[in-house]
Symmetry: C2
Subunit: 387 residues, 2 copies
C-alpha cells in the first residue's frame, strides 16, 4: 500500500498508533519519541526497530536498551560504505524504554531521539505504541494543561519547579475546587518524567473524558532535595529533606495557589520505585494530610525477601482496623517481570493476611514506564470516589 493510502486508511486512528498499524506490512515508520523529522529509530514488521547513526571513523556502534528490551544486552549495527551504521533489532514489546548508542565503548544519545530525564541525565527513549496502550494516546477530547510553576522552598533555600496538571474545565468555573494527587517519579528521574515518559496528562484527559476518573489536580515535583546550607546529596533516595519540603513548602504552596480541596480525604500521594518509597513514607507518615497512598513498583516491600515491611505498612499490620477506618485507599502494584515483584507480592500477602484493606495490581512488564502508565490508568479511577 502506498504512503498516501496509509494516510487515508489511518485517518481515524490516533497518530502514534498509526505507526503500529502501518508498520505491520509497510515500510518502517518513525517512533513518536523521535525528534521532529527524524526517520530513525523506525519500527517495522514484528515491532523490530531499525537504528541509524553516521559515524565513519567509529570501529563499533551498538544499541543498548537501558531496560528489559533484548535482555538489556547491546547489539551491534553494521557500517555501510558511506560510514553509516545501520541495523535492525529483535522484536520489541510495546511500552517506553530508555536506550543509548555505544560508540567505541562511549555511551551517547541517539540524535534521532528526543531526550527524557532518566538515569540521572538526558537519555534517549523508545516509545513503542500498541493498542494495549491506547489509553495514553492523545485523542480529540478536552485537554487539561501541564503548568510549570516556580516557587521558593524554605527547606532547600532555592527556587524549585513543580509541574501541575489542571483538568480541562479548571479555568471554566472559577468557584470549583478539586482533589489533588501528588505523583512522584523514580530514581534518576525528574519533575518532567510523569508528563513525558508517563503521559500522565493524556491518561487523565482520556479518563476524565470517559467519566472514568474524577477531575483532579496532579502535582509532579522532583523527588530530590538538599536542606539549605547542607552539602548537596546527589542521589538522596526518599530523603528527609524531600519529606519536609512536601509537607512545609509544596502542599501549602499548592493549596494557596490552586483551587484545591485542602483536606486529607481529597489528597493522595503516589510514586513509582523510589517515589513509591516516598509515597509510603510521606503519605502514611502524615495521616493528617493524606487519606490515599499508592506505591507503584517500589516502596511497599522490605529491601530483601522476608524483610520486615516499611514502617507505615508494619503499623497497618499491627492495627488493621484503625488503618482501614483511617485510609480511603492503599494501592500497591508491580510488574510481573520486575526484579522486586516477589518481595512486593510478599508485602501484599502480608497485608491481606492481616486484613489491611488495599488494592493489588499486577501486570505484564518489568521495572519500566509501560507498567507505570498502566498503573496510573488503574489507580486514577479509584481516587477521590466514595469509599
Amino acid at each position: 500500500m502506498t504512503m498516501r493510502g496509509w494516510i487515508l486508511v489511518l485517518g481515524l486512528i490516533p497518530a502514534t498508533l498509526q505507526a503500529q498499524e502501518a508498520a505491520k506490512d509497510g515500510p518502517p515508520v518513525p517512533l513518536p519519541s523521535n525528534v521532529r523529522g527524524s526517520a530513525f529509530p523506525a519500527m517495522g514488521p514484528e515491532r523490530r526497530l531499525r537504528f541509524r547513526l553516521k559515524a565513519p571513523e567509529a570501529r563499533l556502534v551498538e544499541v543498548r536498551c537501558k531496560g528489559s528490551l533484548w535482555g538489556g544486552k547491546p547489539f551491534p549495527l553494521t557500517k555501510d560504505k558511506d560510514g553509516v551504521w545501520i541495523g535492525t533489532s529483535e522484536p520489541a514489546e510495546p511500552g517506553f524504554y530508555y536506550y543509548e548508542l555505544i560508540v567505541d565503548g562511549v555511551p551517547m544519545n541517539d540524535p534521532g531521539s528526543r531526550t527524557y530525564f532518566g538515569w540521572g541525565r538526558e537519555t534517549s527513549g523508545l516509545d513503542i505504541p500498541d493498542k494495549l496502550y491506547d489509553f495514553c494516546e492523545i485523542r480529540p477530547v478536552p485537554h487539561g494543561e501541564v503548568r510549570a510553576r516556580t516557587y521558593e522552598s524554605k527547606i532547600t533555600g532555592t527556587p524549585r519547579r513543580a509541574f501541575i496538571y489542571t483538568p480541562p474545565d479548571y479555568d471554566r468555573d472559577s468557584s470549583r475546587r478539586y482533589p489533588v494527587l501528588y505523583l512522584q517519579h523514580g530514581s534518576g528521574e525528574s519533575e518532567r518524567s510523569w508528563s513525558e515518559q508517563g503521559r500522565a496528562q493524556v491518561i487523565l484527559d482520556n479518563l476524565i473524558a470517559e467519566r472514568q476518573a474524577e477531575e483532579m489536580i496532579v502535582v509532579m515535583e522532583q523527588g530530590y532535595a538538599t536542606k539549605a546550607g547542607a552539602a548537596p546529596a546527589v542521589n538522596a533516595r526518599g530523603n528527609e529533606a524531600f519529606e519536609e519540603l512536601v509537607v512545609n513548602d509544596l502542599i501549602p504552596m499548592i493549596d494557596a495557589t490552586y483551587r484545591t480541596k485542602p483536606d486529607r480525604d481529597s489528597r493522595a500521594i503516589a510514586g513509582l520505585s523510589m517515589g513509591g518509597g516516598q509515597a509510603i513514607r510521606i503519605g502514611l507518615g502524615h495521616p493528617d494530610l493524606f487519606a490515599s497512598v499508592a506505591a507503584l513498583s517500589g516502596g511497599a516491600a522490605g529491601r530483601s525477601a522476608g524483610a520486615s515491611l516499611p514502617e507505615g505498612l508494619a503499623k497497618a499490620v499491627e492495627e488493621p482496623a484503625a488503618f482501614n477506618a483511617r485510609m480511603r485507599l492503599l494501592w500497591i502494584g508491580c510488574g510481573l517481570q520486575d526484579g522486586g515483584y516477589a518481595r512486593t507480592k510478599d508485602a501484599h500477602e502480608a497485608l491481606e493476611k492481616a486484613g489491611v484493606t488495599h488494592m493489588w495490581f499486577d501486570t505484564a512488564g518489568g521495572h519500566e514506564w509501560g507498567v507505570w502508565r498502566k498503573s496510573l490508568h488503574d489507580l486514577a479511577p479509584r481516587l477521590f470516589r466514595t469509599k
Copy 2:
C-alpha cells in the same frame, strides 16, 4: 575561602549568579545548564570552562561550541590514566550557547548537560551567567506559569502543543483580560526554546514585578507545520502552513481558551531568526490581527546585501504615513557580531530614511540566545503601552 564561606557570603545573590561570583577566585563551579548533581561543565577564573568525559577507548575527544565561543572551532581534551578526558577552555563570553563533544569524529551530547532543542535535535547547552544577564535570573518575585497545552489543528490535522506564559496574577482575578505576545523560536528549535534557552518567563516575571512591562500572555508554538495530507516538510522555513495555522487555529484557540484582549491593538508577534521572518510575514501580512511586530536577528532584511526588503517592510517604505498610523510598534534588532547585522542595519536605515517609525536595537553578541534574551528584555516593556 571555604565552600561554606562562599555559601554564607552569596546567600543574597540569585543562585546562578553565585557561580559567576564564586568562580572568580574559587574552585570551578557547575553551570546552571548542567543536569542535577553534575560537577561538569564547570566555570573557573576568567570564565574558562572545564569539561570532562570518561571515554577510555576513545582516540580523540574535542569540545565544539555550535556558536561563537572559541571561534566555533573544536578544542581537544586530554586523557588521564583512568581514561577520563579533561580540559579547560579559553575564556567565554557570558550568554547561552549550544555545544557538543566530538568523540573520534562523532558529535555527541555531554552527559553532564541538560539538553535544549536546537539544530533540529536535543543539544547540550552552556548557560554562562553574568551580572549583565541578571534580568533573567530567577528572583523571589511573583511567578507566572508556563502552561503546556495540547490542541487540535485543522490545518495540520494533528494535535499540536503550545507553551503559554500566563502572568503571576492571571488566576487571581478571573474577570481581567490580557494582551498577547506570540513569540517564535528560530530554525531547528521548538516551542520549548523560549522558556528554556530564552528564559522568557523569568524575564517577564522580573519586568512585571518591577512594573517595567505590562502583564501579558505569551504564546510559544513550534514554527513548523505541514498541511494535512501533504508530504512532511522537514525544515519548511516560515512556511505558508504555519501562517495558516497561526491565523486559523492558534489565535482562535488562544482567544477562546484564555482571557485575552482579542483585538489587534492587544496582539503582537515577535520571533528570532527564522521566527523573525514569520513575525514580519504573518504580523505585517495580517494588519487586522496584529498592531505590533518584532523581528529579532532575522526577517527584516533582504536575503543578501542590497536586496529588496521583505514584502511587509517594502510596503511600509512605499506608504510610511499609512503604516505609521496603523502600527503600534515595529521593533527590529540584531547582534553586532551577527552575520546578518549589516543587512539588518541596511533595512533599519531604509526604514528610517523613508520615515517608517520603528525601534532599532543593536547589542553586543552574535546569532545567539544571549542577544535574544536581551532583545526580549528590551522589547517587552515597549509592548501594549500607550503609543
